[in-house]
């Protein structure tokens, strides 16, 4: 049936979105928990200044913020181009 194959395709697309969203969430979690665990358990490393004034902790913290923004950008460009156009195709 026409409707059914459309439903199947929609399900597959939805599953793909959850997979992409899940993978990106895990990436964020790993980066953030990595930062937090270093803060909690490796104070000397985080306090080490590789350039006077710039400690590992400060640079990693700033990078985590930047990484979070880049990840949302990656998701947005994937969703705006691939996901939305596939969804529009199915909606027709």
């Amino acid at each position: 049936m026409h409707g059914n194959s459309k439903d199947e395709a929609l399900k597959a697309l939805a599953a793909r979105r959850w997979r992409v969203a899940g993978a990106l969430t895990v990436a964020m979690l790993v980066a953030y928990l990595g930062f937090i665990l270093l803060v909690a358990f490796n104070r000397p490393l985080m306090g080490h200044q590789f350039v006077p004034g710039l400690s590992v902790g400060i640079v990693l913290g700033a990078l985590t913020i930047l990484f979070a923004w880049v990840l949302t950008g990656v998701y947005m460009s994937w969703a705006n181009r691939k996901y939305d156009s596939a969804l529009d195709e199915l909606r027709r």
Binding site: A21, G53, S55, G57, N80
Partner: protein, 535 residues
Amino acid sequence: MNPTTAGTQLGQPNTTAIVFFLLFVSITLAITYWAARKTKTTSEFFAAGGGISAGQNGFALAGDFMSAASFLGIAGLVATSGFDGLIYSVGWLVGWPVVTFLIAEPLRNLGKYTFADVVAYRLKQTPVRLSAAVGTLTVVVFYLIAQMVGAGNLIRLLFGLSYETAVVIVGAVMILYVLFGGMIATTWVQIVKAVLLLGGATALAISVLYRFGFSPAALFSEAVNRYGPEALAPGKLVSNPLETISLGLALMFGTAGLPHILMRFYTVPNAKAARTSVFYATGLIGFFYLVTFILGFGASVLVGRQAIVGVDKGGNMAAPMLAEVVGGTGFLGFISAVSFATILAVVAGLTLSGAAALSHDLWSSVVRKGHAPEAEQLKVARIASLALGILAIILGVVFKNQNVAFMVGLAFAIAASANFPALLLSMLWRGFTTKGAVASMLTGSISAVLLIFLSPTVQVELLGNASALFPLKNPGIVTIPLSFIVGWVVSLLAPEAEASARFAEVEHRMHVGAPVTPPPVTVPTGVAGTVPQKV
């Protein structure tokens, strides 16, 4: 109380501050007047009629999130304890990707005004909305306390007014925004405030960096010269590793459970605009936190820790004092007025989300079972806004001397434990049931509040006991998993056939969005919610 430090204008009436503040209030009240004429339906009152663009909503989201507690609180934490403040900045930001990936689009597609719309979609309305309202109102109340306390202290120091008068002024102006302008006014107040706050903080950071050859490293080095290498390493805040992780989890998942943030996704026209708006918001907020970090170190070097703590124990005056040092009384006035505006706007957003829970979730859905006429819903929403505004004023007075950044941490713990697990499970898991949702939300709210009550913060710092029953200040590491597990186990114990049968409909609508024409009410189960073929 007179500030003990010489050479600061804080605590005395500041003409620039008063002028800028009056200017902000007049502009935003003009916006409210304009919005009031456009606010005739509940959809306009709660969701600005869905007519906000992705760019506008990005600024409004950032505005809702960049509270005075994070501006003044983080700058203060960094100024007084260095690196530790960054842990808050990072934690407060990393929740946003989670919101983008997991929450924003399904929420926009499934709900109407509150996150309870999503959880209750295929479950029994009354119990789910009742317990969702408990979670929402608890978060709103804690967050409101933090904001009102910040407002009172700030204005007391700025205008020389009494703390209580300050709290009443904030409450009164905020009530005007929400009562008359609803979400349209609140959104535009947020946008104006976000632009002012980002602009003000950036100007302040540039003035600081100018003195260090535009090198943040030179600024941080100076902090090391003054306060030792500890300034750039994790310090007292992380004396207990478990505490750090717990705080981190609460901050990360709390964002995805904050009612006033979740409510913003209903102001945009579709899922694409929802996702795009979070991307803008994440960029703005991330930039803001990095700037706040410069301000904190700038204050510790240019103002000095002793002077900062001398004016306010919590360090919350670091940023305004820094403005005075680099730009004189005029700049102090501007930054103070911006901070005040910030508090007003955030309190308005919070109150609106609390009013939505009271009016939409409790009154319209539970009391009137969805049969309340439009005019009645609007009336209840306005009464709820007024009541919450008055409650905010009372709580602001009662909780006079709390550290504001810490209070926000508590609100996040409750949001992460009460709202986020139920929201995620309802969207992802076919087997989720009414009882599971209720159990998860109530367990999350109650356990978070209870453990906070048993924590060292309340037992030792507030009540003066020698020790606390629960060792952590932030309960997230216990309460978030607990809420997930309880929701899961209770659902498994008593499966709900109807709820899982309707999961297909949820799945479909979550991705495709609302049908262009609503499906007929009589459609048999299984077909309901599919896109009408004729479109």
